[in-house]
Structure formats: structure tokens, C-alpha cells
Amino acid sequence: MTANALPRLLVVDDLFGRILQGGRNPEREDLCARFAWLDASDDAASRASRAVVRHPSAEVVFCRGQRPLTAGVGTTVENDLDAALVRLREGWSQAIFQGGPPWTMVLLDLCFSTGRVTRVSNHRGEGTPEGRPSDDHPSSYFGLVLLDAIHREFPDLPVCIFSSKPRAQVSLAFSRGGALGFVDRSDPSAPKLLEAAIWSHGLFADQQGAILGNSLPLLLALREGRRAAAHGENVLIRGERGTGKELMAQFLHRARSTVCGDDRRPFVPLNSAVFGQELFGSELFGIEAKTATGVDARVGLIESAMGGDLFLDEIADMPGEVQAAVLRVLQDRHITRVGGRRSIAVNVRFLSATNTDLDREDLGFRADLLDRLRQGGTVWVPPLRARGADIPALGDRFLREAEGLGRGTQRHELTDDTKQALLEHEWPGNVRELRSVVFEAVARHPDVEYLVPSHLRLAKPRPTAPGQETPDKPTRSEADDARSMMSSFGGLLRALSQTSFSPHATSEWAGRLEHLQQAQHRLTARLLLAAFEATKRRTAARPNGIVQIHPALKLLTGEPGLTASQAADSIKRLLGPIAQELEGDLREAYETALRLRPKATVRTPRPEPPGKKAGP
């Protein structure tokens, strides 16, 4: 999503998702006009739509969740879970892994009418099926079935119930199903309620474009930021060096200003490390004018931020005395200027940032201060390596910035292999490092149109300093993984090509079976790793993701009906033979499978131990 791009919604609804004979859907047109939606369904109804929306609030794709899409008298309409999931995947999984904007939110209807379209039901509403008793019962709403399936396959996808059925009938069920809210579309203020739900729960990029990217870890972090804006409590921002913590602080500030409806709220940044013990008092609290000494009054930084946000960067470096002083301000909510007696009430939100785990006792940061600084929550800014999908767009932005500074006579482009090189780098210095690399490449090669990999000076990764953020990193690089996989695959193919399956060649076989099995297991392990990576649940706290064996196995096998138990059994069978070698995600998956199915016996293709007699 580029700056100012519209939120992208998917509406799953039998009435608004269908297409009437003749191609139109007047109900959908009314809905789009009422909510100021741009119909982006790219179906016959959207093409035939006469709704004109000048200032759209969202771009919406409609999905019926039933088959057929168009029904006339005599047609039978049935719910279609798979078709709905296919539509969801198109806008979620593919976007997540290809770098496009994912669904901001899914709006889910509850009651889907099924059955035959009769003359009577058609008279009620064109193409309306007569309905079955279970369609309109809260315990069997198809919307709740869909919700359950969506939450299992896409746990991070925000879903909101969008129905004109009574909320109270399903409030427990939709909470259990993982929906984040309920908007009654027949409520007169439904458009405003929906706007608020999208703000709090939707996944969408920074509309101002200051923080660039659509990757899921980033969108989750931005959502945390917007949620934190709702209450106005102090927020702690954490993230590795160079991830853009100050940009996130500015985002939190803008979000709060939007909520307050006041874009003149001050934002005062300060680096906590720059104040010595002598200066901090006057800088933070200000100075009262003294007629006798001729000292002029000076407003301190806290007072400057009154009614707005004070951003304390690098709080881990804050001297002990300053910590004590800030703690007093947070406790008392009052300050007194140096040399003054008058107490001034403080109405300031404190945003603080650090790349250090301040909970560590050996760092000596005051726990009581830390608690107050994160009273309104912690927002984690993901490292760049967890935001691979954002790298090409960031690279392009930095190119334009570098050119804007006169660092090149030509307009530069990144070639595909340069982008690949950028994607493969681990970026220990994160976005700041990427910016430096691009700026340096442009400065050193101002007269070329294309930046090729040899133009990039990519630093070798350094070990992380003690106490700094150490997110769960992959145990080996992607390049190593790819090499290892090709080696395993190549080994398997070579072995197969050299193998004769003639009974006379049994002696040639001897000793190769184990090699073949090892190659096969390693190949399987590589494929599993890829599936885990593609289906990981990513949160702001775990930007590298949490392994989910069930969705991974479903993806790998292509069997949507695979149960969680079957998935666990498969993991045990596939990884059991190489259990001793497992590490990282594979180890996590294997242990999860063992926990889920501790007793189930799994048939493993192990050779019989030598000397053991075969049973009857």
C-alpha cells in the first residue's frame, strides 16, 4: 500500500456478494454508496454498478461464499466454504509473501440463506433462496463456520462480524471464533462504527507514508501503535538499532493527534543520553527567572511537550539521577522549574525507545520507572530481516532520496539481482543500514542507470552486543538453506540415477539405502522448513514467527481436510528418523507434534535392526 492508499476490505455476504441475472446487484450498490466504498470485486456486478463514490473510504471486494454466484428460479444455492477460503488466500497469503497489501479486514455476514430459489422466494427478492431452518439459527450460522475456518488458517487476519442480526445472540461465539468486533450494518451510525473498527483492528500501512511497507510484522506493529493511541498512556517502543523507533514514535504521536482531533499537539524528542547530571534539571524542567541574578526564564522540555508527546530516545543510557527525576514527574504529574517554587501540572504522554532489554537486572534500570513508561503497552518495531517484502520499496525510496540530495546525475534503478542481494543480506543495522548502503552506492556510482550487486557494500554481520535485542534468528541463512537443499536433492537424484533396480544388482545396492534415506529426510526437512516459513504466525513480539504445524502440513500436502492430529503424526513420521539432528523451527515443530500426540504410534520406514528375526 502506498501513502494514502485505501484500506482493502473483503466482504463475505450472500446478499451483497451475489450477482443477479442481468449482471447487477442493486443492494451492493446501495451498500457501497452508504459506506462510501469502491467496489473492486472485478465481477459483473461491480462492472455494471452505477454507484458513484467521490471520496471512497475503502476498496472492497465482495465474495458470496455460496455457489452459484447467480441464481434464478429452480436453482439450488449452497454454502461454499472452499470458495470463500480461496478468495481469502488470494488477498492474504499471496500478498504477504509477494509484498502487496493484504486484506485490511474481513467483514463477515452471519446468516447465509440456502436452498432452492422458488417462485415465492424469488418474489420476496430476486434470486433469493427459500432458506433452511438451520440457516437462521445462531448455533448454525454459516458465518460462524467461516469464522472458525478463517481463524484456523489465517490467525492474524482481522475479522469483524458485519450483520444485521442481533449481536447478543452470537457475542460469545464470535469472541471464541476470533472475530475482533461486531458492526450492526442496520445501525444508523454503522459507517462510523466500521471506520472505528478498521482503525483499531485493521491492518493497513502508514497513510502518510513516513513508515514505508506492507509486510505483516510492520502492519501488526502499526496496529499496536494505533491501539495505543486510543488511551493516551505512556508507551515503550522497542526494536533493534536502525529499525526506525523514532519514526514509530512520530507515528504514535500522529495517531494520538488524529484520535484527539488536534494536529497541533507538540512532539518533543530528546536523547536521554545527552544530559549530564548537571544539565538535565534545567533542560527538562526549565528555569525560573531571577531578577537579582539576571537569569532569564526558560521553558523546559517537559513544559514544551505540554498537551502532547515527549519522546525519550535511548532510555537505557539515561543517568540514574535523571531516572529518579523522571520517575518523580510520572508519579506526581507535576514539575517545578529550577529556582522556582510554583508547581506546574504536567499533561504529557511519555514515549520512550530502547534497543535494550531493560528488564535485565544487571543493567540497573529502575523497574518502577520502566513500569510507568510502558503503562500503555510496548510496541515492537520489527527488524528489517523480518520485513523482506518491504526491502525493494525501501530501496527505491532511498534511491530517490539520494538522487534528491544531488548524489547522482542519472536516475537509478535496482536490478533484479541487486534486489535479490538486498533480500539475502541479514541487515544487522536494519533500515538505517539499508539507507546507508543505497546512499553510498549512488554516491560512488552517480553516472550509471542501474545499480548492480557489485555496487553494494554490504557489511558482514557482527555479533550482537550483550543486552541488545536478540530476536529468535534463523539458525542459518537462507542462502545456506538453499545450498543445503540443493545438495540434498542433488544427492538423492545422483543416488537414484546410479541405482539399478534389477534383483541381480542387490549387491550394488548394499550400503546405499541409508544414504538414500538420509537424503530423502533432509529433502523433506527442507520442504517442511519452507512450509513452516510460509505459514508462520507472526506477531509484533515474535516478528520471526511461531511455527504452526497444522497449516504448514495442509499447505505442503494440499489437503484442506487434514486434521491437526494427522498433521502431528506426519511431522513425527517425517522428522522422527532425523530427530537427533533437528534444530530451530524443525526442532520446535517436532516437539509440538510430540506434545500433541505423545502416545500415538507412527509407522516409520526404519530398516529392521541387524539380527532381528522377522515375526510370523
Binding site: 457501497c32 452508504r34 463514490v53 432458506g131 431452518p133 444485521s164 442496520s186 444508523p188
Partner: protein, 170 residues
């Protein structure tokens, strides 16, 4: 679920909630934001009004029918003509049926509900008639005020429909 209750649910959900409220909302936004190009404004509004009036006629017909048949269709006395209550002895039926009927009338207040529904229908009808008059006389400022009233009246109609109980004993 009895037929009357199914018809009531459809009226409330399909016709009022999903159609008329959305149509009026679209109409209101069209008037508020001037989203329709000036050249086509009256024709577009007339088309939208035609849709609102068509939906309204269907709702009025069904709403009036439901208000008139609520007692006869939903009275628990009718349950004694169907299994399993039809198996009650005559003696049991003689004391149980009036008791259940009295309880239902006390809890569901059928006459009050039906009268309220008719009142709400009248209110929506008046609002839409006035709205149509203003649109046809091209007084869009007044139409904007009236479309809000029509939407509010329709919302109250939806609430009145939701107050009908599908249960015999609460």
C-alpha cells in the same frame, strides 16, 4: 420455528436491515456529499427514490400482514392442536391452554406489539411520502432532512420488529 416467526425474521433482516436501511443510507450520502454529477442529479435521485419506494411497499404489505396475524398465528392455544400437546387429555387441555395463553399475553403483550408495529409502519410511510414529495419538487435541502427522518423511523421499525417474541414462555 413457526411460519410467522420466519416471516418476521425475514422482514426484519432481509427487507428492513439489508435493503431499506442501506437504500436510505445511500440516498442520504448522495444528498450529503453531492456524489451524483449535477447534470444527472434528479434522474439519479429519482431512480434511488423509486428503489426506496418499491422496497417500502413490500415492507408495508408484509408488516401489515404480520401485525394482523400475530395473535392468530403465534397464540400458544394453537400449539394444542399439534403434537405433542394435542395428546393432552381434555381435562388437562381445559386448564393448561388458558393458563399458557394468559401467560403468553402477559409476557408478549401481543396487542401492544402489533399496535406499535402498525404505528412504526405509519411513521416510516409518512416520512417516505414526504421525502418523495420534496425530491419530486426538487427541494433537496428539505429532502436531506427528511431522508434522515425516514432512516431513523426505519431503524425504529426494525427495533419494533425485534421486540416480538418467538417464544411462548419467557
Amino acid at each position: 420455528m413457526r411460519t410467522w416467526a420466519i416471516r418476521r425474521a425475514r422482514l426484519s433482516h432481509d427487507l428492513v436491515g439489508n435493503r431499506l436501511i442501506q437504500s436510505l443510507g445511500a440516498f442520504e450520502r448522495a444528498l450529503q456529499e453531492g456524489v451524483i454529477d449535477a447534470g444527472d442529479v434528479y434522474q439519479a435521485l429519482s431512480e434511488q427514490l423509486h428503489r426506496v419506494e418499491k422496497q417500502w411497499r413490500q415492507i408495508r404489505r408484509e408488516g401489515q400482514a404480520l401485525s394482523l396475524t400475530y395473535v392468530s398465528e403465534m397464540t400458544p392455544t394453537a400449539l394444542f392442536n399439534e403434537p405433542p400437546l394435542c395428546y393432552c387429555s381434555t381435562a388437562t387441555r381445559n386448564w393448561l391452554s388458558p393458563l399458557v395463553e394468559a401467560r403468553w399475553r402477559a409476557n408478549a403483550q401481543p396487542e401492544v406489539r402489533a399496535a406499535e408495529l402498525r404505528q412504526r409502519l405509519t411513521a416510516v410511510g409518512s416520512a417516505i411520502t414526504m421525502l418523495a414529495r420534496q425530491v419530486r419538487s426538487r427541494n433537496l435541502t428539505e429532502a436531506l432532512r427528511l431522508v434522515g427522518e425516514a432512516r431513523e423511523a426505519t431503524s425504529r421499525l426494525g427495533k419494533a420488529l425485534s421486540l416480538f417474541s418467538d417464544r411462548v414462555l419467557l
